[in-house]
Amino acid sequence: MSTSDELQILPPSKLVVDHVTKSFHTQRGWLKALDDVSLTVDEGEFVCLVGPSGCGKSTLLNLIAGLDTPESGTLSCDGMPITTTGRDRGVMFQEHALFPWLDVLGNVLFGLNLKPSLNKAERVEIARYYLQLVGLGRFIHANVHELSGGMKQRVALARALAPNPRILCMDEPFAALDAMTREQLYADLQRIWDQRKKTIIFVTHNVREAVCLGDRVVLFSPNPGRIREQFRIDLQRPRDINSVELAEHATEITRALKQHNAKREVAE
């Protein structure tokens, strides 16, 4: 296999979540993190999962990533059941989770080193390509602790992209960053998504962020974790998080979010 084969744009995957339930044991008894949740994500779609903490959005992401298994129900990726982690699904966490014993290049190479079909020069070339894609071409030999928070997340993005997954799972990846850095990353992520054609599942509690990035915003509510409402966002790309139309959409979704919360509190 050559570098160009490895770098080719693979068709993004279709993801099907079918009647999935998942509970966790907590100090206050069993918590139903996901209660009979079904969701279909189309090939190349950018879907944002939004909701208050404890609504199960991160749980669902972990199930899609294969880091956890559902109690009942099934998940499948292009018709193949998801049972464990796989290189067809890249993951980015809220913490950068970069390995401090490796430099930037070493971190991006980690996943590539597990592909036996490539030789060393090809791996390095691919890693360089992705580091350039995220704007860190000049920092390949930097150590992790020397990077800013935004740069660390860029490396984490390059690392998740490097094995060329068809799905990218992102669990509040920008939550710990300052507003300026985040805005730049919104622009970059939209560009990269357009260039590399991935299906993206993006978890966030920031409604504006979801509207800025997503083709669709899926609203979750907690106790038990369920999908409440879905919103299609048809704004033109690339989107600016400060635009008026975007703010209008965000207001509408925030209102719905509050309504669901209020209903739940009345019911309780």
């Binding site: 880091l67 390995f99 602790h145 094995p163």
Partner: protein, 254 residues
């Protein structure tokens, strides 16, 4: 350059102070020989080869025991960190034995193995093994779980995760454990050599012991200086590169 001057000034000052104390005549020169006497002893011992031979014998014992201790301690520490059963058994045993001063192994080693190299080796291994085991266990246990999760999403599992993620992630603990193991091995070997006279070779501890027997204070102080020097050298040669690496990658210690 300035650093070198400071270092030379400090140790030169110590020698001057020592000489001044000798000249003051507070103690008998038998108890406190002047620096020149110690230097003369060291020179003689270097010329006749006895110092080099003793150092070589000591280092051979130390290195062999230390390497065995590390080779056993590293995987055992990883294992106790991963398995609850091993941690409840081997882990507890290690914790208990680690608190035992390594010189306490000497009587047992003598009775079991007699005045042999095996007794020496046993004491050094016991000095190294437990502290390395505990440090590695501690390191692997306190690993952020996110590293393993992230590695899993990239297709790493089993032995690959152990060698490429858990082991390097515990490196700060491993290095400090190996350093501690080295210190314990060194101490226990000196204790063993001072207590145990064996015919298969006299180490630095023996030179120290004979110095005491002969009331040769210049030899006692001279050998002690060599022991300190070897300790310093080992620190620089064996551990400095690792610590520099940790500092560079982890950004610690600045």
């Amino acid at each position: 350059m300035k650093r070198v001057l400071v270092i030379l000034g400090f140790f030169g000052g110590l020698v001057v102070l020592w000489q001044a104390l000798v000249s003051a005549g507070l103690w008998s020169p038998v108890l406190l020989p002047p620096p020149a006497d110690v230097a003369r002893y060291l020179w003689r011992a270097i010329v006749d080869g006895s110092l080099a031979e003793a150092s070589w014998i000591t280092m051979k014992r130390l290195m062999l025991g230390y390497v065995i201790g590390c080779v056993l301690g590293l995987p055992l520490g990883l294992a106790t960190a991963r398995s609850k059963y091993l941690s409840d058994t081997v882990g507890v045993l290690a914790l208990g034995l680690q608190t035992l001063p390594s010189v306490c192994w000497v009587p047992l080693a003598l009775l079991w193995f007699g005045q042999t190299e095996t007794a020496m080796l046993f004491v050094v291994v016991m000095g190294t093994l437990w502290s390395v085991l505990i440090a590695v266990d501690n390191g692997a246990r306190n690993l952020p779980p996110i590293y393993v999760r992230a590695a899993r999403t990239m297709g790493s599992k089993g032995l690959h995760t152990l060698v490429k993620v858990i082991l390097p992630a515990s490196l700060p603990f491993v290095v400090s454990g190996m350093k501690q193991g080295w210190a314990f091995a060194w101490r226990s070997l000196m204790a063993a050599e001072i207590y145990v006279t064996i015919l298969t070779g006299y180490g630095l501890g023996h030179l120290l012991h004979f110095g005491r027997e002969l009331n040769a204070m210049d030899q006692v102080i001279g050998v002690m200086l060599i022991i300190v020097l070897i300790g310093l050298l080992a620190d620089k040669v064996l551990f400095s590169p690792w610590e520099k690496f940790l500092q560079k990658r982890w950004g610690t210690g600045k």
